[in-house]
């Protein structure tokens, strides 16, 4: 059943991709043909119009699919184990907008290290509850997040370099897995006051990373606050 639905969805897309060039070229001539044919025969008009309508339907579907890929969230975050300052774009989706996917580029200033770093993050957010407060405010009392961070520097490796015996360290110094929870408060900008943002949100989250969790499990003496990291951010929602 699902397979049939999938095929029925995919088929027009395949057809569209293969006949896109010809379809575009036909658009202009089609309008002229439709005008000139109007006086000739009633039956052929409806036929041409029907064909044109079908074509429009398919292109609309095509546009809608690509439109879904337009990022509708822009974030700016401070700290949070992904950079001192990180800027990101994101997509909000799901029936209630409960899912969010964000990508961030973070900047790490020179610290005790001789160079600064850039880091890349992919973040998945799940928001189970969203409570409206009045007409302008919404509160997300708890959301969960899972994110993957990669520090973009040759000092760090994804796979152990060949110089090591196989499985010498058995971890990647470049890729970190993080798990966190957070809270968010959103202000819905009144329609007449909107410049770019439809909604402006402030959030904070606490998170930890894979290596910290491992060390904490090994040593109970490590204070919990040492393995937890805080982040604050602002998020703009457009569209």
């Amino acid at each position: 059943m699902t397979l049939r639905r999938l095929i029925s969805k995919l088929l027009p897309a395949i057809l569209l991709f293969t006949s896109l060039g010809t379809a575009n070229a036909q658009t202009d001539t089609l309008a002229i043909t439709a005008d000139s044919a109007q006086t000739a025969c009633g039956d052929s008009i409806t036929d041409v119009q029907r064909k044109y309508r079908n074509y429009e339907k398919r292109t609309n579907w095509y546009k809608k699919q690509w439109a879904a890929l337009i990022p509708n969230r822009f974030s700016l975050q401070y700290a949070g184990d992904i950079g001192m300052v990180s800027a990101g774009i994101g997509w909000c989706y799901g029936k209630r907008g409960q899912w969010g996917t964000h990508v961030f580029l973070g900047y790490l200033p020179k610290n005790h290290t001789p160079s600064s770093y850039w880091s890349f993050t992919v973040k998945q957010v799940y928001t189970p509850w969203s409570l409206p407060i009045g007409k302008k405010w919404t509160i997300e009392p708890l959301y969960g997040t899972l994110f993957l961070n990669s520090i973009l520097s040759d000092e760090f490796w994804t796979k152990e370099p060949d110089r090591y015996p196989k499985g010498y360290y058995g971890f990647s110094s470049r890729i970190r897995f993080h798990l966190g929870i957070g809270q968010k408060v959103t202000f819905l900008v009144p329609a007449h006051k909107r410049f770019l943002a439809k909604k402006i949100s402030l959030y904070y989250e606490v998170s930890t990373c894979d290596l910290y969790v491992r060390q904490r499990i090994l040593s109970k003496t490590i204070p919990l606050k040492d393995i937890i990291c805080l982040a604050v951010g602002v998020q703009y929602t457009i569209l």
Partner: protein, 276 residues
């Protein structure tokens, strides 16, 4: 809900993270802001040299390969403190598992709790990520020497595999210069009776640049009254590697709940393994 409730919620949220503390804003696990002591060797060495200047019997504890065994490390430090006869602590490297600044801080805080001066050599795990920079920031250069009374300590970076030939490991220029300085010092007044070489991995280990193991030995034989202490192998291994009377005291990791104590006198020394 009214404006009042919103205000309360926002204030509540702000309180939560101000209570959790602003120091919890971390930029990255490999780029953490340091709290507490840094550049430790500079002050520790000065302290050790002052403390051991005219001492007849010098006692030091050798702990190695902490690597996340913080609880065991804590017990070891407590025992060292309770003994009361230890002058200073030498850490044999691998304070960390992943070279994270936080791991360095956890280990440093344990060593700080001893109330004694301490020094550390760099281990291979300490070099992971940007760990070698963190080590340098928190302790000092990975090759260093000091004199505890009549004992010369030469602490070397021997984890060659981590540097992939980009750095001289072991650094023979450093060793050569040190031998020259020592010769000059002994020619002036015969003050140095014994040398103790501290390293993380020793000749023969996969981390050591074994192509120069014999050359290393050749250089080391020039030190007066030498013995070596090392970690890395997570087992006790006391052996005369080159069959020339230079003993390498390989200490097991702290996870095995053991450390070594060396009691040095001008005419000899005692070595003891402490299990706890």
């Amino acid at each position: 809900m009214n404006r009042h409730t919103i205000k309360h919620t926002v204030i509540g949220m702000l309180t939560v993270f101000f209570m959790s503390g602003c120091d919890m804003f971390e930029y990255h696990p490999y780029s953490t802001k340091f709290e507490g002591r840094t550049n430790i060797h500079a002050t520790s060495i000065e302290q050790i040299e002052r403390l051991c200047k005219d001492k007849e019997e010098i006692t030091f504890a050798f702990i190695t390969d902490t690597q996340g065994s913080n609880t065991n490390m804590q017990d070891a430090i407590r025992l060292i403190r309770e003994r009361g006869d230890i002058d200073f602590i030498v850490h044999g490297g691998d304070q960390t598992d992943f070279g994270l600044p936080k791991e360095f801080m956890w280990c440093r805080d344990q060593l700080e709790a001893s109330g004694l001066p301490y020094v550390s050599v760099i281990g291979n795990h300490d070099c992971l990520g940007n760990g070698e920079h963190t080590f340098e920031y928190i302790y000092g250069t990975p090759n260093f020497t000091f004199n505890a009374g009549y004992i010369h300590f030469v602490c070397l970076n021997t984890v060659a595999l981590e540097y992939d030939y980009s750095h001289p490991v072991p650094d023979f220029n450093f060793i050569e210069q040190d031998i020259e300085t020592l010769k000059g010092l002994n020619a002036e007044k015969d003050s140095i009776k014994r040398t103790i070489a501290v390293m993380h991995s020793r000749p023969g280990d996969e981390q050591f640049n074994n192509n120069v193991a014999k050359v290393f030995n050749l250089y080391m034989t020039q030190y007066p009254g030498l013995f070596c202490v090392n970690g890395h192998n997570h087992c006790d291994d006391v052996s005369d590697i080159f069959s020339n009377g230079i003993i390498y005291y390989g200490c097991t990791n702290i996870k095995e709940r053991a450390y070594y104590v060396f009691k040095i006198r001008k005419d000899g020394y005692d070595f003891e393994k402490i299990d706890f």
